[in-house]
Symmetry: C2
C-alpha cells in the first residue's frame, strides 16, 4: 500500500500475518546475516535470483522468496521460473503470504505491501 | 516470466494450477462478460480497484483479484487495502495462487506471471 494507514497494527490478519519474520534487519536486501534459505528480490534480472534460489533449494530443500513494493511481480516471476522451468518438476509453490509493512517515521511514514513465496521439494 | 518457456504445459503444478479460470476472454481487462466477483487489475490507482472490490464483496461475499505482469504488485496492494484498512476487519485473504500464462503466438510468444488473490468474509 502506498497510502497512510495509521490503524493497521490494531487489525492483525491471521491469514496474512507473518510467521517467518520480516524485521527491518532482514528485509534490507543485504545478504549478510540473513537466513540461508531466504531470497530477497531487488532490481537485478529475474534469472539472477532464480539461479540463486535453485542453489539454495539444493542446499536446504526449501526457500522463501521475499519482496516488497513494485518488485513483488518479480518475486512471482522468480518462483514461476524455478518451479515451472528450471526445477525439472521437483519443486512446488507451498505457500504464499501477503502483508503490509510500515516504512519510515512521522510524516515520512508509508505502507508498503510485501509477499513471501515458499518454494520447496515436492513430497 | 518474461522468457521463452515451451514446456510449461507439460508440467502442471498442483499448487499453482488455476481452479478458477483465467481464459483469454476473461483476462483482457474488459468488464463486459466477466464474472461479477472478479476484479481485474490494470493501470488505474489502487483505490479505484479497492472501492470496486469492496462493492463486489458486499454483493457476493467473496472476490477474486486478478493481475498479470508488472501490475501484480498493485493486486497485492488492493488486497491489503481492502483487508487491512477499508474492510473494517470483516474480510480476510483466503487463498493466493500464482501461475504462468503464455501470450502471443510464434516468435511473439512470451510468458507472463499471473496472480489470483481470493478475499472473502471472515467465518
Amino acid at each position: 500500500m502506498s497510502e497512510s494507514q495509521p490503524n493497521i497494527e490494531s487489525k492483525p490478519n491471521p491469514i496474512t500475518s507473518n510467521s517467518i519474520g520480516t524485521s527491518e534487519s532482514t528485509m534490507n536486501g543485504k545478504s549478510g546475516g540473513t537466513p540461508l534459505n531466504h531470497v530477497y528480490i531487488g532490481k537485478k534480472p529475474v534469472m539472477s535470483y532464480a539461479m540463486s534460489a535453485l542453489i539454495q533449494l539444493a542446499q536446504t530443500g526449501e526457500i522463501v522468496i521475499k519482496a516488497r513494493g513494485l518488485v513483488i511481480s518479480r518475486a512471482v516471476d522468480v518462483a514461476e521460473v524455478v518451479v515451472q522451468r528450471l526445477g525439472g518438476g521437483s519443486y512446488e509453490t507451498k505457500d504464499i503470504k501477503i502483508d503490509t509493512e510500515r516504512l519510515g517515521e512521522g510524516s515520512e511514514a508509508r505502507n508498503v505491501s510485501t509477499i513471501e513465496i515458499v518454494v520447496g521439494k515436492k513430497p
